[in-house]
Amino acid sequence: MSVKLGLLALLAEQSMYGAQLRSEFEARTGGTWPLNVGQVYTTLARLERDGMVAQDAQADEEGRILYHLTPLGLEEVTTWWRTPVDRDETPRDELVIKLALAVTTPGVDVPAVVQTQRTATLRHLRDLTRLKVQASDQQASSDGTSNDLAWLLVVENLIFAAESEVRWLDHVEARLAAEAARPKRAVASTDAAAAEDAEYRTAAARSANTTTTSQGARK
């Protein structure tokens, strides 16, 4: 999540000082992504440098410096609301990497890794569901402040993410079972890699003597 865009969105409503931006951001996202004040001020400094925010000419009555959006900053926020969040960059997910390595590392009990994770994720899902019940009760009994709704939506998003993880783990398990039932091929992947490596070296040696590229010789 870009802190920069979050701050710009908040400043689009009204001028605020650093600590206020931080507490507003946390209140609206239920404290799920805590910010520290330093992070807020560093980001503000960068935004100021880029001409997206500016300091008010005068400090408020308590001497705090308020920041406001410039037209360029407003344009940036407006563009953000209009465009989808970029999902092209694949985030580095530890669980995915762990399982990818587990299935390729000899001696790792992969079904146990899957089961251990699923239990932990189910427990997490249960805790999130309890939070959600609290959040929706709070929202139902509140006078309709949008922060309660925002928090509820954040919790529900985490629930969907946890559920998706459990479903993926179920799928991994089914896939592993199907794979285990399949007749094994004679050459294991590591042997195949070694064979390919040897072939590559032979080809490279040959290409040193001829005009053929090693890449071409491998094909």
């Binding site: 089961q115 699923r118 239990t119 994720t121 189910l122 427990r123 899902l125 249960r126 999130l128 569901t129 019940v133 629930i159 946890a162 559920e163 459990v166 479903r167 179920d170 398990e173 089914a174």
Partner: protein
């Protein structure tokens, strides 16, 4: 310590014999205490529904024990079993299973009336529980004039009417959309918070998350549970894994 309402000890269930025997359950132990909702998850054929049927006396264990409030289900005769199901255990199914020619209140009071309670008393008990599950206004309505979510609330009321404290639910939200399903689970959760014991079979993690713990079955054995460590220990006894 409070006694469990449902106490399952090292239960096996085998269909058929010899080489073609199918072992639906292979040494499962499980306790469900008052105030607790326990979810059972697992792939198809893992034994979830068999476990639920054994818990409700709809099926008999090949070995091991199933006790409901201290009474061994396997030792009961047909009449006693029927009485157990009318008085102590309630079922909630995916497709609601309400009787179409009876109103909500009549559906709910039926098990009580079959058990000898007067119609008047039965209806009073029915109205009470319908009020509790939030559908008092549907008392005189027939099932075909109710939404799926409303029918399922009535089914939960029927499962818990009278003194019954054990509710066995088999995919109770399977036929409902996500928001309605959630409302139904909330009713089930509230009833358990009020002292009932619930066993919920589901394949949806999001639904299982309403339970206090999730028991995971695979090939007829409990392979895992999300309970606290000491709970897990007692649960895993006899699981064979």
């Amino acid at each position: 310590m409070t006694a469990p309402i449902l106490h399952i000890v090292d239960v096996t269930r085998t269909h058929g014999e010899g080489e073609t025997a199918v072992h639906a359950l292979r040494g499962v132990s499980l306790d469900v205490f008052p105030g607790e909702l326990v979810a059972v998850m697992g792939p198809s054929g893992s034994g979830k529904s068999t476990l639920l049927n054994l818990a409700g006396g709809l099926d008999k264990a090949t070995s091991g024990q199933v006790l409901i409030e201290g009474d061994e289900v396997g030792a009961l005769g047909a009449n006693q079993l029927a009485s157990l199901r009318r008085r102590r255990v309630g079922f909630v199914f995916q497709d609601f299973n309400l009787i179409p020619s009876l109103t909500a209140a009549e559906n709910v009071s039926l098990p009580l009336e079959l058990d000898g309670m007067s119609v008047k008393e039965g209806r009073r008990a029915a109205h009470e529980i319908l009020e509790i599950v939030g559908v008092a206004e549907l008392a005189d309505r027939y099932p075909d004039k109710m939404s799926g979510g409303q029918q399922q609330r009535v089914a939960i009321a029927r499962a818990l009417v009278g003194d019954r404290r054990l509710v066995l639910a088999d995919e109770p939200t399977g036929a409902l959309d996500s928001t309605t399903g959630e409302g139904v689970l909330r009713v089930l959760r509230d009833r358990c918070n009020a002292g009932a014991a619930g066993l919920l079979v589901t394949h949806e993690a999001r639904h299982a998350a309403w339970a206090d713990r999730v028991v995971f079955l695979r090939d007829g054995v409990v392979v895992d549970t999300t309970g606290s460590p000491e709970e897990a220990e007692t649960l895993l006894v006899g699981s064979g894994s």
